[in-house]
Assembly symmetry: C2
Homo-oligomer: 271 residues x 2
DNA sequence: AAGTGGTCTAGACCACAAA
DNA sequence: TTGTGGTCTAGACCACTTG
């Protein structure tokens, strides 16, 4: 009889060592035996404890890092992570009027709620500004209904208290290329459009997806390559409904959450 | 002078070999020189070409896998991935009435649009059903306003055409524990509530975030541990507004996208 | 049977952070 | 300076897929 396979035990005997180690540590963390903030033994000692090479042990620890269970600090040690402190970006449905920048505002409010001392507001810094190329330019071109050779691309990062929270890429018609010069004055790209140019904006649509951080986003946000990011993209338009820009924001998935509240009426059935 | 550091070249000399290799292959893929579907040379040959050990080469390839650039098939080879075929789950704002299960429906429609032949509808299979424990049970308890010892947990996976698309976890009052027996008949958990129990449901709120796949989700969805997943959770309630269940869905982030269309009126300013 | 990726060892040296 | 994690080698054997 073939009785060996098809067992659903998570730490079976056919399971590789690094996976056994990772699940064992994971379970200890979930159970609270390894409390948040605790430093794990160094990799050499852990490897000895589990009877494997440091390289194998490391494979397990890196997997835990990607699950958000531990934080590895080079030259210092590996620490059990605390449950993430979620920033909730709330939008009511139907939407309330007159928000300045829902994302930036939510990060501001969140900082205010958990600090008695005054905190600095979110600031948007320009990383690069130039012509749009690559596959994403074609996508933006489609969303905006403009040929991609007329598009300008603006890359920024939103910063608060010295930490980089959100990577943003904007695509818009080259006639607006000057916004880049107004961002410093108005703190945020959106305000550079609305206040700097006097151009009222509204959503046409917003969307949510998730990706692993590529090399650029990983560097911008200070996370390991492949970290799960929440992507929020969408098109904003002027009062007459003509698209102005397509924006694609990337946030660390474990520390931000977009919430839609259905306040006014009940919406039948879903799962 | 110290001129070596602080260059922003992506393939500088201080960069580890595996990272240089990964960025080089990544750039070739982005530029289309390595077209989707193409099989890369085997790891031994690639390692020789880059002058590194197979282990080092492998570190680069695995990083590309996490970025969704390549697909590694054991015993077969490593292939450049095609741009993902996104399933768009669209909700209009304000919402339209009478959807049965927006998520499942979107996957059905998507399959219909790209296949001349009839396709099977999404089906929901029960993975486990039992009492609720762990940190997520406490969260569910808070969302529902019920003590966690009165909660029942139901884990399912949505399947279509033999592929597992969405991992779901439901928490609800133990009085509804019987839904598990109605799911097979009604295909979907939501329909087991609405049709089986005659209980109309509506959203209270929905939220979006992102996480790396943990061991269970990775197995359920057939993806590597740590893969970026889109999380859509929320609370549904009955007609009188009392919460019925909290649900937490996990989808592969690269193949699903939630879209909110603001059809009726413009919503002022955002970014 | 042949070819592919998956795991692992034993050891080495390097880069970084804190004392 | 010490201790931590980060990278890399050269080789071995195993597991899976396909013919």
């Amino acid at each position: 009889m073939n009785e060996r396979r098809s067992e659903h035990v998570r730490t079976g005997n056919g399971t590789p060592a690094y996976r056994r180690i990772a699940t064992e540590l994971w379970d200890e963390i979930q159970a609270g035996q390894l409390a948040p903030g605790v430093r794990l033994p160094n990799e050499g000692d852990l490897a000895a404890r589990f009877g494997v090479t440091r390289l194998t042990l490391r494979q397990a620890v890196i997997e835990l890092q990607r699950l958000g269970a531990v934080e590895i600090r080079r030259g210092v040690g590996t620490f059990v992570m605390a449950p993430p402190d979620l920033v909730e970006i709330v939008a009511s449905v139907p939407p309330a009027r007159q928000e300045s920048d829902a994302t930036a505002d939510a990060f501001d409010e969140h900082a205010l709620r958990r600090s008695a001392r005054p905190v600095r507001a979110v600031d948007e810094l320009i990383l690069s500004s130039g012509t749009a190329t690559g596959p994403l330019a074609d996508e933006a071109s489609g969303h905006l209904g403009m040929p991609s050779d007329q598009l300008h691309r603006l890359d920024t990062v939103m910063v608060r208290d010295g930490r980089r929270w959100i990577a943003n890429s904007y695509w818009f018609h080259a006639r607006w290329a000057g916004v880049a010069d107004l961002v410093a004055e108005h703190s945020l790209v959106v305000r550079a459009f609305t206040d700097g140019y006097g151009l009222p904006l509204g959503y046409l649509w917003r969307a949510f997806s998730a990706i692993g951080a590529d090399f650029d986003d990983a560097e911008t946000l200070g996370v390991p390559t492949g970290t799960a990011l929440l992507v929020r993209d969408g098109v904003s338009a002027g009062v007459t409904g003509e698209p102005v820009f397509y924006v694609r924001r990337r946030l660390r998935g474990d520390e931000a959450k977009f919430v839609l509240r259905y306040d006014t009426e009940r919406v039948p059935v879903e799962g």
